[in-house]
Symmetry: C2
Subunit: 278 residues, 2 copies
């Protein structure tokens, strides 16, 4: 990290803002620069002081940056990467925080300028909260950070060391496996949670039932972010959703037939699975 | 409560055991008697000391009891109620803790002996843990307790005062509304959680993703209890499950069509709903 002086952050929301605070905490010599697209977000970022510098000029933010962080929604990551290519210095390292990786990796590798390195990262510490005002310097501590780029490259090694300094545990995984695994463990649960909240009507009295609260907490997650995640991991998600609906149908049929023994057997099998999981 | 000296508890698991501890704490003059069906559970209940007395003879437990608590799975509540009829003293008050109420109320009202009162209760503080060894005296504190019997009867008034003394907030609700409401806020979430855990395979690496953990926590809930709840509230649950699958299908179609704008609109609407809920 001795060479890294300037870090550019594009997309200063909860994740990007927290990353700035964490970097400033652990690397006092680093200066974090954030890009604000609108006057409104510029004013907010100035006010909440999570960055060393806020600029509305993309060129100013990116030029001479040793490290560029794309803390943006999945589709926007690709759009902004293309936009900053002319400003990237040689030997700059770019990494993202996107929740699905295959599509990003494919698009970025097609237009990666010579000398610039891209490292795909996904720290598993998202929150249903969005907005830089919720930034906290310790959200990456004890989090797992998945890196989908080759562990052999020098840039990947640098990025790995940064995450480890922030307290994260780094795991290398291919982008294919990442997307398959995230589909089941995060994208499908979000889709389920959204759907359960959607079906809530005024007929259901409002009591605090912990089970319902647990299942619907993440349905507060931001719409544009999640629409893009769903579409960028479409193949895996549709397969998982289909299998999930088959299991619901299995329960439905057993309930219709009043087949108590088979329902008990099925839940017992699930209980055992859950014990291994927790 | 001045008249209540002996309380009989049938079904000493997590809920029944905790009720015994809570009653002994708040009503020191009351003696709690628990029924153990097997030698094994008799030995366990003796060892963990959550009750004043443990008996394997149902008659001994129930005779002369002022209050009889049926802390059993839904279907078993009806079976045991019929079995204890000959032992119930005149003016005994019987209440249950079942998670669905319509079927129990209907069956018990058909065979209720003269002088005996039945009060349907459902304290909303269940847990995925089962077993009397997890009993805690404070689980009913600050919990909501739904009572589905008429608030006008003297027995209901007594039972209400007991719950309030244990720190619960009592709400009166008809058994029909109770079952409709519980179907959506508890029974469907459990069915969803079981199904999500069922689909987990070894292909999915094991990381600690909070969203997945939240959605699968309750899939540890006991099989026989939940099979009976599902069947005893079949009508409401099948309707809710069907509607839920329609919403999943809606998401599926929008994802298939890459209709980002409509997905964003749908999630935004859901975000607003969730804000009102939490």
């Amino acid at each position: 990290m001795s060479k890294i002086k300037k870090v550019a952050i594009l997309g200063v929301g909860h994740m990007g803002g927290s990353l700035s605070l964490a970097l400033r905490d652990k690397f006092p010599e680093v200066s974090t620069w954030g890009y604000a697209r609108s006057k409104k977000s510029y004013d907010k970022l100035k006010r909440i002081r999570v960055l060393n510098r806020v600029e509305r000029d993309l060129k100013k933010v990116v030029e001479n940056a040793d490290l560029v962080v794309l803390a943006l929604p999945v589709e926007v990551i690709i759009v902004y990467f293309k936009r900053i290519i002319p400003f990237l210095k040689k030997e700059a390292i770019v990494f993202d925080l996107g929740s699905s990786k295959g599509a990003i990796e494919k698009s970025i590798n097609k237009c990666l300028p010579k000398g610039v390195s891209f490292v795909g990262c996904h720290p598993l510490c998202g929150s249903e909260k969005s907005g830089a005002e919720f930034s906290k310097k310790d959200i990456y501590q004890k989090a797992t950070c998945l890196i989908t780029s080759s562990p052999q490259s020098k840039a990947t090694e640098t990025v790995k060391r940064i995450w480890e300094k922030l307290g994260s545990k780094v795991i290398f995984i291919s982008s294919q496996r990442h997307d398959k695994f995230l589909s089941y463990l995060s994208h499908l649960p979000h889709l389920i949670s959204f759907s359960l909240t959607d079906g809530f009507s005024k007929d259901h009295l409002k009591f605090s039932l912990q089970s319902f609260k647990d299942l619907t907490r993440i349905s507060l997650s931001p719409a544009s972010v999640w629409a893009e995640i769903f579409l960028s991991n479409k193949g895996n998600l549709l397969t998982d959703l289909n299998n999930f609906m088959k299991i619901l149908k299995k329960f439905e049929n057993l309930i219709k037939k009043n087949d108590k023994n088979k329902i008990v057997d099925l839940i017992k099998k699930i209980n055992t699975k859950q014990k291994h999981l927790s």
